[in-house]
């Protein structure tokens, strides 16, 4: 690790050239000089000899460069040296060189190979004389250069072992991933929640174009939650087969609750209906005495996995920060002045803490920039804004909802007293007598654990019913002209027929004449239906 000192020791010792190449080249000789100097009392003649040698070395390296200077030096001196030194040491040196080469499967530069074979004694960067000394000394001790009899660790140049196919083996990659999974499981067991509680996910939903889209996303998120989970889906307008089959295929424990009222088209009314649906779900939880942590997951929201880890910590009622993604639904951006952009608070809704970490207030979404342009009807191409405090930002301990529960605090209203008279419940704080007892989660609200998003299909959009293309789409672009650049290669006709058949079989259509053009399966295939 100290090898970079070689040039510096150079500067300290000799008055030789400052050029790096000559400095490097002379380092070897100078190392020899140092060792030579330390060996014993030196006669002045020998020191001038070394100085001349050093000067010669410098000259050679000036003309030929660092590496070639060493090469020349060894050519001039090492052959004589080999003859002069004992035969055993030279053969040992050669042998050692050959052993190091045979262990190489490939080396990074092929030139080094030839170096090793022909210049047996010259492999180590320190110069010839010192090297030979090391070999001789080692030879005298009858061992490898590290000095002691039993050591098999050889100092010097080694081959760089590269296996013939230095690429990952998929079986091993899978094994490694399994190891990591297991390690992470253990980590959770050691450092994570000691007694994980069941998560009760309350989702109000209703049948509309994007229901499958939203529910699929939420379904996949919930499948990844590492805690026992029950998904309580309240569907407005009664349960539908589509939702029921999706829940059945999900592999989750679910409770599918029908809600008698249909979902209105007005956003304000929709929010109110959703609130009533959630209350209905809470009542079901109360009836069935379900135990766990209640999370309000709207079907269009996006949840992070840390949310589910964090909600395990809730005592009675907690609040998390929700990122609000209010989008315009249009290509043009909101016209905001620079000053507005600076002063606009973060689009985050959640608890605000004071310096001692206690709940001090709430951050709500600033809807000023959107004034006058919000959507009123579902499917309108205008931004949809959240209400003051979204339900999604709150989590409850289900025991809070039970009629009787140990330790239930008195600042919690009884559920029966809420919403019975037809009053609208804006946010879960109305479930409490004293909203200041809410626990801020997620590092006191600093961590945004989920995102609120309301994306619905435009009212004038036409998506296929049930996301099945039936009847087949009309051909918009005739087969001869493809929407993508013409390719020169043309498929032979048999292959083309095969492809047609496969397609037809896939889409299970009787008539062969019509071929769907816009199916995504053919998107990446440039050779398409070019005939």
């Amino acid at each position: 690790m100290m090898k970079s000192l070689l040039p510096q020791s150079q500067l300290r010792r000799s008055a030789a050239a400052a050029a790096r190449s000559s400095g490097g080249g002379a380092a070897g000789a100078d190392g020899a000089m140092a060792d030579g100097g330390g060996a014993g009392p030196r006669a002045p003649a020998s020191s001038t000899f070394w100085f001349l040698l050093h000067a010669l070395f410098c000259l050679i390296s000036v003309f030929l460069g660092f590496r070639f200077s060493r090469l020349l030096f060894f050519l001039l001196f090492s052959t004589t040296a080999l003859y002069h030194s004992t035969t055993s040491s030279s053969s040992a040196a050669v042998l050692r060189a050959t052993t190091t080469t045979t262990t190489t499967t490939t080396t990074t530069t092929t030139t080094t190979n030839t170096f090793m074979l022909s210049f047996a004694a010259a492999n180590n960067p320190p110069s010839g004389p010192a090297n030979r000394t090391a070999l001789e000394a080692a030879d005298n001790k009858g061992a490898a250069a590290s000095g002691n009899p039993q050591s098999h660790v050889v100092v010097g140049r080694h081959g760089i072992r590269i296996r013939p196919w230095p690429h990952p083996d998929p079986v091993e990659v899978m094994r490694a991933h399994r190891i990591m999974e297991r390690v992470q499981e253990e980590q959770r067991r050691w450092y994570g929640v000691k007694e994980p509680r069941q998560v009760l996910v309350v989702t109000p939903t209703y049948s509309r174009a994007f229901q499958a889209l939203h529910l699929t996303g939420l379904l996949h998120s919930l499948r990844n939650v590492p805690y026992p989970l029950t998904w309580i889906v309240v569907e407005a307008g009664g349960t539908t087969n589509a939702t029921a089959s999706m829940l059945a295929r999900s592999g989750l424990t679910f409770v599918h609750i029908p809600f008698p009222d249909r979902m209105p088209h007005d956003w304000a009314d929709r929010h109110a209906t959703e609130n009533r649906m959630r209350l209905h779900a809470l009542r079901v939880i109360r009836e069935r005495k379900m135990d766990g942590v209640v999370v309000f997951a709207d079907d269009s929201n996006v949840h992070s996995m840390e949310l589910f880890d964090e909600v395990q910590k809730v005592q009675w009622m907690g609040a998390v920060s929700v990122g609000i993604l209010a989008h315009t639904g249009r290509a043009d951006q909101l016209r905001l002045s620079e000053e507005d952009k600076q002063n606009m608070p973060l689009p985050v809704q959640g608890p605000a803490c004071n310096s001692s970490g206690h709940l001090a207030g709430w951050h709500t979404f600033n809807s000023l920039p959107f004034s006058g342009k919000t959507a009123t009807v579902v499917g309108e191409a205008a931004p949809v804004l959240p209400r003051g405090l979204e339900w999604a930002g709150f989590v409850l301990n289900s025991r809070m909802l039970w009629k009787e529960a140990d330790g239930k605090p008195d600042w919690v209203k009884d559920l029966d007293a809420v919403g019975e008279n037809g009053e609208e419940i804006e946010n879960p704080l109305t479930l409490l007598n004293d909203p200041s007892s809410v626990e801020p989660l997620g590092n006191c609200g600093k961590k945004v654990l989920l995102w609120w998003l309301r994306v619905e299909a435009r009212a004038d959009s036409k998506f296929p019913q049930g996301w099945v293309i039936e009847p087949p789409l009309e051909v918009v672009v005739p087969a001869k002209r493809t929407p993508w650049p013409e390719t020169t290669t043309e498929l032979p006709s048999e292959l083309l027929d095969d492809k047609q058949e496969q397609e037809d079989r896939r889409l299970s259509r009787a008539n062969k004449s019509s071929r769907p053009r816009g199916t995504t399966k053919r998107k990446g295939d440039p050779q398409g239906q070019d005939n």
């Binding site: 690790m1 100290m2 090898k3 970079s4 000192l5 190392g31 140092a34 060792d35 100097g37 330390g38 060996a39 014993g40 590496r67 001196f77 040296a81 002069h84 030194s85 499967t105 080396t107 990074t108 080094t112 170096f115 180590n124 960067p125 320190p126 004389p129 010192a130 090297n131 090391a134 000394a137 001790k141 250069a145 590290s146 000095g147 002691n148 039993q150 050591s151 660790v153 050889v154 100092v155 010097g156 140049r157 080694h158 760089i160 072992r161 590269i162 230095p166 990952p168 091993e172 990659v173 094994r175 490694a176 399994r178 190891i179 297991r182 390690v183 992470q184 980590q187 450092y191 880890d309």
Partner: protein, 432 residues
Amino acid sequence: MTRARVVWRPTAVLLLAVASLSCVLSPPRVSAAAGAEVAGGVARRNTERIAGSAGDVLEDNPIGRLKVYIYDLPSKYNKRIVTKDPRCLHHMFAAEIFMHRFLLSSAVRTLNPEEADWFYTPVYTTCDLTPAGLPLPFKSPRMMRSAIQFISNKWPFWNRTDGADHFFVVPHDFGACFHYQEEKATERGILPMLRRATLVQTFGQKNHVCLKEGSIIIPPYAPPQKMQAHLVPPETPRSIFVYFRGLFYDNGNDPEGGYYARGARASLWENFKNNPLFDISKDHPITYYEDMQRAVFCLCPLGWAPWSPRLVEAVVFGCIPVIIADDIVLPFADAIPWEEIGVFVDEEDVPKLDSILTSIPIENILRKQRLLANPSMKKAMLFPQPAQPRDAFHQILNGLARKLPHMQSVYLQPREKHLNWTAGPAGDLKPW
């Protein structure tokens, strides 16, 4: 050329003589060390708890088991050097300075040399730094020799035992061989003056000239506060399989490759640069410590010398160290069961490293992580200021205490002399 050969032969003969001398001296110490090994091994197996205690030998308290007398050297050997270059307090060789400071205020210190079991000479030989911060070892032999001459002239204790009950902290690359280059270091061998003393060093390789029998191997200094400042919550999932940051090729000193790290690091790069399981690179990120805490395995390959602070970092951050250095002797090997904590891979098996690591049974991996999570492991690797119980300072004292009581052969008979004061290269004999 013939003249050169004539000159080298006597040196070789001399080295041989000295080597044979050390062989003569070592048998008693070998048996003592072997005894300690066996005793340590038995203690380890019996008392290792499944929850992750790494051997109760780590829990020993040295206070009361030994007494250390600190020679009062003039400040040119210690304080003045540090004042001249305070970088010495932060580099990986800083153990020598902190050991001195620890001993000055420790309960094992005695002011009465007659009752001392061990004598400590505070000389900072690794503090002569280049502008880049690397220590130059060229003056160290002279400095050490000068210090020993001072103490042998001023106090009678050195001559009483020829230094056998003295210990020195020599944390440089190859310990008391005082050179950064392995061939030169092995040529020099351990400084003749120190042939009888106990050496506390970071370098450890079996059957190597620069590792004396009875030396205490210590971890290199790693800044504890800096590491504490970068801790992440332990529940952060470990999602990196293998992690390494450092050089693979030392283009400055070894342009053709194959010499640096005996080709092992280059082999690592060539075999695994495309492997997504291996997060290896020579860039140094700001999140280096945090990344280690997110990794399952951390590679600790040899460089120019077999030891590195990576081992300390891996242990502190709970990442299983994969040690790629043939015949290496790890710190406190008689107290810490490294075989059970880390993974040892021969340098010739580096191309198969992915197979080796993925075929370790998962129970072993979890067990290693449990052992690493043991706080006594982490404590034993660190040099905190001020010193805390069971830290590396105390482990060094434990090691010294285990070597007590000194055998009678340690004390010299009248007219018996072991050390040759004129041995070594002529450059070392110059005064400092």
